[in-house]
C-alpha cells in the first residue's frame, strides 16, 4: 500500500529546488538537535521531528515566511524513591530554526504529535508556487 503523504513528482524543477535547499541550509547533516526530516514538493513540505517523550505543553512552534522555529524541552522523570541503575535518556532543551525552500502560508499549517514524532505540514504560498508556462507555436 502506498502510504506517501505527498505525491511523488518527477519535475526537474523540484530537484533544483532541492539543491538550493541543501545549499541554503548550511548546517552539517546529523549534527543538530532535534533531528528532522523534510519532504518537499511543489505544494509544500512535511517536516518530521524525532522528539520522544515530550509533553505538548513544552513544545512551541512558530512560522514566519520561510522560517520554521521549534522550541521545546524534556525532563526525564525518575520514579519517586527509585534507584537509578542506568541512565542513558537525555534531558533536552532546544531552539532550532529551519529555512524552507519556499514562502509558507502561515494560516494553513498543521502540526500533530504522535508516537514521539512531531509532524508539521506546511503549505506553500499560492503566489510562490511554480507554474507551468505553455509554449505556443506560431
Amino acid at each position: 500500500m502506498d502510504t506517501m503523504l505527498w505525491p511523488r513528482h518527477s519535475l526537474g524543477l523540484f530537484d533544483r529546488l532541492w539543491e538550493a535547499f541543501d545549499r541554503d541550509w548550511g548546517l552539517p547533516r546529523g549534527e543538530e538537535f532535534p533531528p528532522i526530516n523534510v519532504y518537499t514538493n511543489d505544494e509544500g513540505a512535511l517536516v518530521t521531528v524525532e522528539l520522544p517523550g515530550i509533553e505538548e505543553k513544552d513544545l512551541e512552534l512558530s512560522l514566519e515566511n520561510d522560517t520554521l522555529t521549534l522550541r521545546g524541552k524534556r525532563s526525564v522523570t525518575v520514579p519517586e524513591g527509585a534507584t537509578v541503575l542506568r541512565r542513558e535518556r537525555r534531558d533536552y532543551s532546544f531552539t532550532r530554526s529551519i529555512r524552507l525552500p519556499f514562502q509558507a502560508e502561515t494560516k494553513k499549517g498543521a502540526a500533530r504529535y504522535q508516537n514521539g514524532i512531531l509532524s508539521i505540514e506546511l503549505h506553500r504560498r499560492e503566489a510562490d508556487k511554480p507554474r507551468r508556462i505553455a509554449i505556443t507555436n506560431k
Binding site: 532541492w18 520522544p52 517523550g53 537509578v84 541512565r87
Partner: protein, 112 residues
C-alpha cells in the same frame, strides 16, 4: 533511497529500581504500541520496535528509519508472569515486578 535495507539502532534506555519492581524505559520515536515486540526467553528480555513509515519520496534526512533492538539480561527474582509494558509518545515503559523473595519486608521486633 531504498526502503528494504533497514539499519538497526540501539535505543537509549534507563533502568530504575524500586522496592517492589524494576522499570526499564526506552526511547523509540516513531514506534506505536502495535509495532513493538517484547519477548522474554529465560533471563533474556528482548525488545524490538519498528517505526511508522514516513513518505518514501526523496527528502532531506537527518534521521533514518530503522529497527530498534535492545536486550536485557535479567537477574533472578523477577516475577515473569507479571511483566507489563506500555508505550506512550515513543517511549516504552516496562515494569518488572520483583518476586516475593526480593521484596523488602518489615521484621517486627518483639520485645521480650
Amino acid at each position: 533511497m531504498s526502503t528494504t535495507e533497514r539499519p538497526s539502532f540501539t535505543p537509549a534506555a534507563d533502568i530504575y529500581e524500586m522496592s517492589d519492581a524494576y522499570e526499564i524505559v526506552i526511547d523509540m520515536p516513531g514506534v506505536d504500541d502495535k509495532k513493538v515486540d517484547i519477548e522474554l526467553d529465560r533471563n533474556l528480555l528482548k525488545v524490538t520496535g519498528h517505526p511508522v513509515e514516513e513518505p518514501t519520496a526523496e527528502g532531506y534526512r537527518e534521521y533514518r528509519l530503522g529497527v530498534y533492538q535492545r536486550s536485557f539480561t535479567l537477574g533472578t527474582g523477577i516475577d515473569r508472569d507479571k511483566v507489563s509494558a506500555k508505550m506512550e509518545d515513543g517511549v516504552l515503559r516496562l515494569r518488572l515486578p520483583k518476586g516475593q523473595e526480593l521484596q523488602p519486608r518489615k521484621i517486627a521486633i518483639t520485645r521480650g
